[in-house]
């Protein structure tokens, strides 16, 4: 009925959704409040996850247990795509992952966001041949990480990310955000 791969995805998703809900990051008001500099809950949550995650990911990578999977640094795709995403995100008040979570905690207007995103994905699939020869063809640096780009050991970069992240936390707490 369900493959083990699907089962593993489901269990991981349940834990992910549970933590997103407990962190109170799913709600429209939390997402928009961060963009309005009123409440930085979602930023605190994201940066904490990233800082903890990078240590574990690179530890396992050094042991040869896991493989990295960088997404391509396609300049046109990332810049234009992220700008469109940011615009839509501010209007919708959810991102793809949080929309289904918000629906789970009863925020039923997230349903229209989910439907809109499925429609958007369908539109993208139709326009893909066009984007491929335009935006996506401009300049592509490939699947690259900061350690390769800067020629530095990854643990040095991880320390720099931690210093930056903790500084942002201290600033938030001082400002009471």
């Amino acid at each position: 009925m369900m493959t083990f791969e699907q089962f593993l995805g489901l269990i991981t998703g349940i834990l992910f959704g549970f933590l997103l809900q407990k962190g109170r990051v799913l709600r429209f008001d939390k997402q928009i409040s961060a963009l309005l500099f009123k409440d930085m809950t979602i930023i605190k949550f994201m940066i904490s996850a990233i800082l903890v995650g990078m240590v574990g990911i690179y530890f396992l990578k050094d042991l040869g247990v896991i493989k990295l999977n960088h997404k391509s640094m396609n300049v046109g795709g990332v810049i234009v795509g992220a700008a469109l995403f940011g615009t839509g995100w501010a209007i919708m008040g959810f991102c793809p992952g949080t929309s289904v979570g918000a629906l789970g905690e009863g925020r039923i207007h997230a349903f229209f966001a989910v439907i809109g995103m499925i429609a958007g994905a369908g539109i993208y699939a139709e326009l893909y041949p066009f984007f491929k020869i335009t935006v996506l063809s401009w300049l592509d640096f490939g699947r690259i990480g900061f350690p390769e780009l800067l020629g530095l050991n990854h643990w040095i970069i991880i320390v720099l990310y931690w210093i930056l992240g903790i500084s942002i936390f201290i600033w938030f707490e001082k400002k009471g955000l």
């Binding site: 839509g88 793809p96 789970g104 893909y128 900061f146």
Partner: protein, 180 residues
């Protein structure tokens, strides 16, 4: 620093750190059990969902579409992850009684009134725009924001910066009434 927030949630630093651990365990488990490392992500699933809907009306169209062929229309690990997020959030919100049927969120109502229709239209069109952008950038705040930055990807830092730059710009224009 408090362990519980004012709205009875968990401290965001703590809950976020647990998501970091979950991402690491998940990368480990998928590598060992499935033989390939899966990272948390969400937006590709919306392509697959669209593929299933289009397939219902025209299977040939999906079979000949370059993008559906590239992303493969199937119920995979990430598709189940998304279903899991819904279930996990439902369980958590019922457990701490924060589950609430909300048709129009407070900040929205303050700016645009209590029309369910208006909110639905904005969520729908915002969703279209956001997903076209996420697919073009090859990731959303999960795939780029969390997973990409954990891997120290160049594209991820660039993407999250521009997500927020435009999100902040548009939100500040769109929601003029900022106080609740």
């Amino acid at each position: 620093m408090k362990l519980k927030t004012k709205d009875n949630g968990w401290n965001p630093y703590f809950a976020g750190a647990l998501v970091g651990l979950l991402a690491v365990f998940s990368a480990y488990a998928t590598s060992v059990i499935l033989g390939k490392t899966n990272y948390l992500g969400a937006s590709t699933t919306f392509v697959r969902a669209a593929g299933y809907i289009v397939q219902f009306f025209s299977p040939e169209h999906v079979a000949n579409n370059e993008y559906y062929l590239k992303e493969k229309v199937k119920i995979d690990w990430q598709f189940m992850l998304i279903i899991g997020i819904f279930i996990g959030s439902l369980i958590s919100s019922l457990q701490d009684k924060s589950f609430k049927i909300e048709k129009v969120p407070p900040i929205w109502e303050k700016n645009f009134g209590s029309s369910v229709y208006k909110r639905a239209v904005a969520a729908f069109f915002g969703g279209i725009l956001a997903m076209i952008g996420a697919r073009m950038a090859d990731g959303c705040p999960s795939g780029h924001g969390l997973s990409g930055n954990m891997q120290l990807s160049v594209s991820a830092l660039m993407a999250i910066f521009i997500f927020f730059l435009f999100g902040i710009l548009v939100a500040n224009i769109f929601y003029r009434e900022k106080e609740l």
